[in-house]
Point group: C2
């Protein structure tokens, strides 16, 4: 029923995690999926979900906020305002990739606009993070890492699109069959992906010159 309660028992906490993970898998595949389907994927009964989350909306809201918080952490950890732009961008890319592959659905923002306050908080964190992203880009441009005549907005959108591509399609380019568990990425995989993203962003896919 409620979201705000006193301390939960250990197995209840575990249920919550399980449910959110299952919801992620199922909803990323089909954003209109049923609570029933989510429950089945989580291996719990539908009523249990309703016991832990006030509503479908609330579930999605909580997932969205949690996801954005993780993303924000990942970006902050890269010191976007102080580290050398190139370093910060690479670090942020790697960090975000690690997080993003686990939140394929929650970060797409296609959960039909839900509860007032949760939505507001998610939007705030998102805007904040985008802002930090823009800061790095501006600094990168000032230092000549990014072409000075490039439209910063286009840069950001290309960068985010590349991030999404890299996070979605699995490193091998294998799309992953429905329901199939995504293989956990190793550090090496992440680094390769991040390198690929930065390389593509900065040098493109044409010949060196």
């Amino acid at each position: 029923m409620s979201t705000t309660g006193r301390k939960l028992r250990a197995d209840a906490e575990r249920s919550i995690r399980t449910i959110m993970e299952a919801a992620e898998r199922v909803l990323s595949e089909n954003p209109g999926a049923t609570m029933e389907q989510i429950a089945e994927a989580a291996g719990v009964s539908r009523t249990t979900i309703h016991r832990r989350f006030a509503s479908r909306e609330a579930l999605i809201d909580i997932m969205t906020v949690a996801a954005w918080k993780e993303i924000a952490e990942a970006v902050d950890a890269a010191r976007p305002a102080t580290a050398p732009p190139q370093v910060a961008m690479y670090q942020a890319t790697a960090n975000v990739l690690r997080v993003k592959s686990g939140w394929r659905f929650a970060l797409t923002g296609q959960g039909p606009l839900s509860g007032e306050q949760a939505r507001a908080e998610a939007a705030r964190i998102e805007a904040d993070t985008i802002g930090k992203c823009d800061v790095v880009i501006r600094r990168a441009q000032q230092e000549g890492v990014i072409r000075p005549d490039a439209d910063p907005l286009w840069v950001r959108r290309v960068y985010l699109a590349l991030l999404t591509e890299a996070a979605h399609g699995a490193y091998s380019g294998h799309a992953g069959a429905p329901g199939e568990a995504a293989p956990a990425e190793t550090d090496a995989d992440i680094d390769e992906l991040a390198t690929r993203v930065m390389d593509t962003l900065l040098r493109g896919l044409g010949p060196g010159s």
Copy 2:
């Protein structure tokens, strides 16, 4: 009710177009939108939609197939198998951009998998088109337009992502408020966009060297 019927009166045909256009706008904004909302956006009553389309599924199916047919035409018109790769890619980019901005929803494939046959046809056309896309990429790679060591799959995904970005965000980078009619793109706009896409794809956003 039915999809297959005899000749329709002129205003009925117009209704169908109007409905599909409205559905595009509304569904691209919210994939879970109601028939009621679509009807309102189209300026017709809900029953009229049901008279012209057997079901919500059918509506989406028909839109999807129509959209992919247009995309296929746009790609074919660029002679992807015979024209010089660079020319073909530019041409295809421009053509697709022109089409894609009008089919923001139908091409995302997030219409919950619908009718057997329609879905199959859409999938066929899509696969076909992707195949042609791959052909150009391979040719471009052979002629040195694209780095020979680049993963063709990654190239394709980056290219498609850039296409989506360019088609979505309006040329000025202005996202467009909900419900706001997208301004029609002029030829100059399209060419600028296509140039930007190709330039970013091949040279990236870093400094020349």
